[in-house]
Amino acid sequence: MKCTECGFEAPVQNFRYLYNARIDASISLRQCPQCQARLAVDELAGEATQKVGDGEAPWGKSAGIEGLAEDNAS
């Protein structure tokens, strides 16, 4: 995997795993050991997609829900 910020390249597990962006999606946050940038990582592709800055959430809004959860219970 390659850091989008500094270009550091290493196997994905060498990037410090921080936490999931949402448990039901294959996006995680990892940290580059070289420049320490927080990166959004597509875990299926094993690719860093972008640096995640303060207030940024490239995965969207509340996990699983874009807007309100509808009341589907019968």
Binding site: Q13, Y17, Y19, D24, S26, E43, A63, L68, A69, D71
Partner: protein, 832 residues
């Protein structure tokens, strides 16, 4: 929005924008505005204290000097003398505009250090960055010297020598529990019935103690026999109680003297002079005598809380202010009209601010588990009187209104809802939630009274006095019901139950054989083998924590001792025993269950995908978990999305949740506390779900080591409750909220847009009816949009006052770590 820009907007415009914090600034009195802004925040920002906060070496030094001097005294008397020395000599201060006084540091920006609790905490303090008073080099020398004195001498050090070494090591691994098994870091209930309902001042109690001493001396100077032998120790305890009550009166007298000094020598404003004289009179009246005014009633309560905190690092603040201060409020505001409603509102708001400013040095696990606050000050409002009638009153309304004006994150409120609560009160409750405070949490009063009677045998009239002992657990405020020492170390990191069941009791994070060897999970051929291992690991975790806490409680009068708390407890004053002694207490224990729901979701995922559908083998699953799901992303997503999750009204997983809880409840009845009562479970989390994120390994619900755990109690996993709010309530309603445990925390996020106006209130009220009909005991709400929270992450300076409900407590959003912030944003916004 910048402060300057906000000032130009009308209240209506700000309401539309949901900028409730600017509205509070515009609406509150000048005094409350000054006092609110004057507070130095003591909660840690994530895990670090804010710039400018200093550890106060004054109390530790004064205490240690006198403790060392009286080295031959018995424990309670020795501590009483050391504490009295602190009360007589610690620096005190009166903030401009203040009408209430009392802090447990020598300056407003200091945090107290409880150095007789645990060497571990003392060593941690030494290593902390940037919190020592200047010059740092000198302070470090002093800390090192104090640490050397207390090394081996603290309450936890003493207990560690008595505990079974295996229990001690496993507890201190940090994997299965937190807290410390000593009242040095405990929580104590206050015997409000004795002090406030009984209208006793400390001089009244001293009279009772004198009579008890006289009675005991008649016997110790009389016929020799074994029956008089325990009295010799009790006599010394009574001496200690008396000594500390007298010191408390002197301590209040010092404030009175300072107030008069300021009024007579410095103050030029006649109105403020008058206030200072009233403040002085207040401190001359209480705690020596029972309060005569509303101001004195609040001041009395605050003195008790502050002195208790000088005696021990109390992590909670059980209180019921609208109930116990109501008689004086009613007298001053309604009957005699001595003060106006607005003047009373200033006092109520300041009473909350005085609690908000309190903070002591906490070790990192406490700071991380309670980010943004310094303890769970959950005050109880509403409820019923001892005869079952509605206890809500004008002061309940005043507290709910004051909360929206001062917007502190601590204390928060837990509201005891019952069917007789008026619409007027419910609207005020809702307004607090709508204003984004995250509190009050709503508690089901009839159900929790029943629960208290079921688990701990409290008589009905006593159960009806209940207050939140910490975040969630009800506890009476009566002679035999009040609990002197709830130790947070009976807090289980429950996700380890399923983790250990899968790993043969071995913990790969702390590198230790923790639980029993229940078998190699790779060889399991049916689900029942896994479940049986889970039951054994659950019992082991609960047993280990409870054994440790029971022994800590039993030995506490010898290893620590609470002279002041004892002097305010009817049963201790009567018996001459330390308040912490189990004698005379009915018993009100519970095991807090952090990270609980992961068990049901993980077990359901294994049952479905491995044993029912046979999509994966146990070996494949264990390989993936050992690799922390690295390289197994598709499979991980299957375990998240292809298996049922709690909170969707799906019996497949809900039945498992109930089955787990019934096993826990069975075991809860088997374990006994030192009073001989049961140890029910109480699922809730504070921000322990974040603290444990890098301590709990990968789980079959699809989380990796590092991911935040669910936000707690019986709340579904963030984003995993996809069937809407009724489904969440229905799942939670399958739990027996009386027999399955002590209480069950439920977090819900609602949309501020949907909850706007009268329509929003009516929607919420309908939701609450369903909640009550389904028999849930708790629910709390976040009502701040994603947009606002992301904006606060981006520009924290502009959003300093945004509050969120974390779990069991509220915090200013900017004071919690990014991981915690993201976890809160991840929670599903329910449309109702």
């Amino acid at each position: 929005m910048a402060a300057e820009a906000a000032k130009d907007l009308s209240i209506q415009e700000l309401e539309k924008e949901g900028q409730w914090w600017w509205i509070a600034e515009k609406k509150r009195s000048r005094r409350l505005d000054y006092l609110r802004k004057a507070v130095w925040k003591k909660g840690a920002l994530g895990g670090n204290y804010a710039p400018g906060i200093k550890v106060d070496l004054e109390m530790p030094t004064l205490f240690t000097n006198m403790y060392n001097w009286w080295k031959y005294d018995p424990p309670m008397l020795r501590r009483a003398k050391a504490l009295a020395h602190v009360l007589d000599n610690i620096g005190i201060f009166i903030t401009d505009q203040a009408q209430l006084v009392g802090y447990f540091g020598s300056m407003p920006n200091t945090i107290a250090w409880r150095l007789d609790g645990a060497s571990i905490v003392n060593e941690e303090l030494y290593n902390e960055p940037g919190i020592m008073p200047e010059p740092e080099e000198e302070s470090l020398k002093k800390v090192a010297e104090l640490n050397s004195y207390w090394s081996g001498n603290t309450a936890v050090d003493k207990l560690a020598r008595v505990l079974d070494p295996e229990d001690a090591v496993k507890f201190l691994s940090g994997a299965i529990g937190w807290g410390a098994p000593t009242s040095a870091y405990g929580y104590s209930g206050k015997d409000y019935e004795y002090i406030f309902a009984g209208r006793r001042g400390f001089l009244d109690i001293i009279e009772e103690i004198d009579a008890n001493i006289e009675g005991a001396e008649d016997r110790t100077m009389g016929m020799p026999g074994p029956d008089i032998l325990p009295l010799y120790e009790r006599l010394q305890n009574w001496d200690a109680m008396k000594l500390i009550l007298e010191a408390a009166i002197r301590y209040a007298g010092r404030y009175a003297r300072l107030a008069r000094t300021i009024a007579e020598n410095f103050e030029t404003d006649p109105k403020r002079k008058e206030e200072l004289i009233r403040l002085a009179e207040s401190c001359e009246t209480v705690p020596a005598h029972a309060p005569q005014t509303f101001q004195q009633s609040l001041q009395y309560d605050h003195f008790i809380q502050i002195i208790c905190r000088l005696e021990a690092h109390e992590g909670a603040w059980p209180a019921r202010p609208d109930y116990y201060h109501w008689p004086m409020y009613d007298k001053d505001v309604n009957i005699e009209k001595n003060i106006t409603g607005e003047e009373a509102m200033d006092l109520v708001g300041e009473f909350m601010i005085r609690a908000y400013e309190v903070g002591g040095f906490g070790p990192r696990w406490a700071r991380e588990g309670l980010q943004g606050i310094t303890g769970t000050w959950v005050w109880t409002l509403g409820g019923v009187n001892q005869d079952g009638s509605d206890a809500c009153n004008d002061l309940t309304l005043a507290f709910l209104k004051a909360a929206r004006l001062v917007r502190v994150s601590n204390p928060t409120f837990g509201f005891r809802w019952h069917p007789k609560v008026s619409d007027k009160i419910m609207r005020e409750v809702f307004e607090c939630i709508r204003h984004g405070l995250g509190y009050p949490s709503i508690r089901n009063d009839p159900l929790l009274i029943q629960n208290s009677m079921h688990w701990h045998g409290h008589p009905l009239e006593e159960a009806r006095t209940w207050v939140h002992q910490a975040c969630m657990s009800p506890c009476p405020t009566t002679k035999h019901g009040v609990q002197p020492m709830r130790m947070a170390s009976a807090t289980a990191n429950c996700a380890k139950m399923v983790e250990y069941a899968l790993h043969n009791g071995y913990d790969h994070v702390v590198q230790m054989q923790m639980g029993p060897r229940t078998g190699d999970a790779r060889k399991y051929t049916d689900f029942e083998q896994l479940f049986s291992a889970w039951v054994q690991q659950m019992e082991w975790i609960m047993n280990t924590l409870v054994r440790t806490v029971n022994l800590g409680r039993f030995k506490d009068p010898e290893f620590y001792g609470r002279p002041f708390l004892s002097a305010t407890y009817e049963r201790a004053v009567e018996s001459g025993l330390d308040a912490v002694s189990p004698v005379g207490e009915r018993g009100n224990c519970w095991v807090t269950f952090f990270t609980w729901v992961e068990n049901a979701d993980s077990l359901a995922a294994v049952k479905k995908l491995v044993f029912d559908e046979k999509k994966y083998t146990m070996t494949q699953l264990m390989d993936a978990l050992e690799a922390n799901w690295e390289g197994c992303e598709k499979m991980r997503l299957d375990f998240v999305n292809g298996a049922p999750k709690w909170g969707n009204d799906d019996d497949y997983v809900d039945d498992l949740m109930i089955r787990c809880l019934r096993e826990v409840a069975r075991h809860s009845r088997e374990m006994k506390c030192p009073c001989g009562n049961s140890w029910p479970a109480l699922p809730e989390n504070v921000s322990g779900n974040i603290h444990y994120a890098s301590i709990v390994g990968a789980l079959p619900n699809g989380r990796r080591l590092g991911d935040a755990l669910y936000d707690g109690g019986i709340s579904p996993g963030p984003g995993l409750d996809k069937n809407g709010p009724s489904a969440v309530l229905k799942s939670c309603g399958k739990i027996d909220h009386v027999g399955d445990g002590r209480a069950f925390l439920l977090n819900q996020r609602l949309s501020p847009t949907q909850m706007a106006g009268e329509k929003g209130y009516q929607l919420w009220k309908a939701y609450m009816r369903t909640w009550a009909d389904l028999g849930l005991d708790h629910v709390q709400f976040n009502m701040v949009s994603d947009e606002t929270l992301r904006a606060a992450q981006k520009d924290p300076e502009k959003y300093q006052e945004v509050i969120v409900r974390v779990a069991g407590y509220s915090a200013h959003f900017v004071d919690i770590s990014r991981k915690t912030q993201d976890n809160i944003i991840q929670r599903t916004i329910q449309g109702i």
